[in-house]
Amino acid sequence: MPAERFRQPSVLPGFGLTFGFTTFFLSALVLLPLAALALMAGSMHWSDFVRVVLSARALGSYRLSFGASFLAATTNLAFGFVIAWTLVRYQFPGRKAVDALIDMPFALPTAVSGIALTSVFAANGWIGRYLAAFGIQVAYTWIGVTVALTLIGMPFMVRTLQPAIAEVQRDLEDAAETLGAGRLYVFRRIVLPTVLPAMLTGFTLAFARAVGEYGSVIFIAGNLPMKTEITPLLIVIHLQEFDYRGAAALGSVMLVISFVVLLTINLIHSWGRRRLVATAH
């Protein structure tokens, strides 16, 4: 039995050059720094590691970072669905412009969205003043953090949902309605099962993006330890104090938690797929 080839034969040239350049580039820019992070966090004594990553201040920052990211991704689940549905199903003046605008948070530098959101939602801002009248303070509280993270995650949710909603078969919906199904029943039994995987994917992407977000949050957050301090900011503070080991420890904890969350949601995702296939038979 011949050994399996590393690469399947092709008449096209340039594999050696492009493969060599790609691997060199990725090794220097990605693998080497990741190894530095692992070595730095690994060189700590475990008791120091635990002291840093389980300090009250760190725990407070996880609660805010992961909690606000979860709330923001959930908000996006609801509003992102409505926006994607509106853009796919309905015709209205300015639809194309709105569709193009969805990518704005992706193209806009985070520092710009940070200061702009802060001034809109501050107590004297365009929207903040009306909320302040009801006693709701957005800027410099966890609500502000959630607002910023919602903005950051929105394009991921909408762009994931749009193709999924376009795929929903309208003749199935029509058939169900002629057979006497109500709108809600049609939505629950035909639309929702088709878009559910996309909703989970969009949720994951929005959540993962929100957990690491820095620029747009620090302006609106207030940055009080234990209250409105996100984990990425705590890492920056460690770095500014030249405590590289502490920063590396927090960074590796963030990476691991994000990885576990992504893995869990991917498992739910594949479970949903299997269930969908099973019910189809």
């Binding site: 530095a36 029509d174 820095y214």
Partner: protein, 289 residues
């Protein structure tokens, strides 16, 4: 009587699927209104506030911001670093997409995962990776200090951080596009005796040019606007290692709102331009994924 018949007919019509009833029309306008209100509050209001605040003290105050030598040096540094980062990342994107889209080899999904990694990692962690390598307490810190080379808190660090954060963009536009277009035309060109470079420049490049243009534009916008990663490696030395997004932070924290939003307005225009180019690229028939 005639009215009764007509009403009955209308009721009969209304029960047919796909017909507009009061409920479906009402729902449609409600959903459109909710979408527009959400986007107006979260997107349009912040965009408008950038320009309104930037011009709140008139055109003169707006322009004065750009007379400040620190602001000018921030703009210059942003342009210089992008001028290094974007060509290098374009080269990487072309090489990686050729290698991954044109050939079948082991470990391809590992390479793809590495390419996606910067998009999943917090920008702060991206910057920290290079501080751990090149910072004073980092792995190469003492060696660099002995040889009088500064990377962190200097231009090379900013360039490396921007490269890390933005190298996936060109590759991620080109790989799916090249995979979708297939290898037939390239194989035909090669078997008929065209050279490797000729095949690339005359066959492949024209096919993927719109994807390439959009990838480069996006890479440029992200590089110029990167905040978290650059903020960690730059050291915020005013007039020396401040890029435009960092300068916005400094001006904002000094309560110089006109200045902060004036610099922000330039980056906002860059983002708008990026979206305009994206939309017109898509209008040429090229669709992302």
């Amino acid at each position: 009587m005639a009215l009764g018949v007509r009403l009955a007919a209308r009721e009969e019509l209304a029960t047919r699927p796909g017909r507009d009833t009061l409920l479906t029309v009402g729902l449609r306008w409600l959903l459109i209104a909710v979408s527009l209100a959400f986007l107006a509050a979260l997107l349009l209001a912040p965009l408008a506030t950038v320009f309104v605040t930037a011009f709140s003290h008139g055109l003169g105050a707006y322009l004065d911001t750009f007379d400040d030598p620190d602001t000018r040096s921030a703009i210059r540094l942003t342009l210089v670093s992008a001028a290094v980062v974007v060509p290098l990342n374009t080269l990487f994107g072309l090489a990686a997409s050729w290698c991954i889209a044109k050939f079948e080899f082991r470990g391809k999904s590992f390479l793809l995962t590495l390419i996606d990694l910067p998009l999943a990692v917090s920008p702060v962690i991206s910057g920290m990776l290079f501080v751990l390598l090149f910072g004073l307490q980092g792995w190469f810190g003492h060696w660099l200090q002995d040889h009088n080379i500064s990377i962190i808190f200097a231009l090379p660090g900013i360039i490396i951080a921007e490269m890390f954060v933005t190298f996936p963009y060109v590759a991620r536009e080109l790989i799916p596009l090249m995979q979708q277009l297939g290898n037939d035309e390239e194989e035909a060109a090669i078997t008929m005796g065209a050279g490797a470079w000729m095949t690339f420049f005359r066959v492949t490049l024209p096919k993927v040019r719109w994807g390439l243009i959009y990838g480069v534009i996006l890479c440029n916008a992200r590089a110029m606007g990167e905040f978290g990663a650059v903020s960690v490696v730059s050291g915020h030395i005013r007039g020396l290692t401040d890029t435009m997004p960092l300068h916005i932070e400094i001006l904002y924290n000094e309560y110089n709102f006109v200045g902060a939003f004036a610099v922000a307005s330039l980056l906002t225009l860059l983002a708008v331009l990026t979206l305009v180019i994206k939309t017109s690229v898509e209008r040429t028939g090229y669709k992302r994924r």
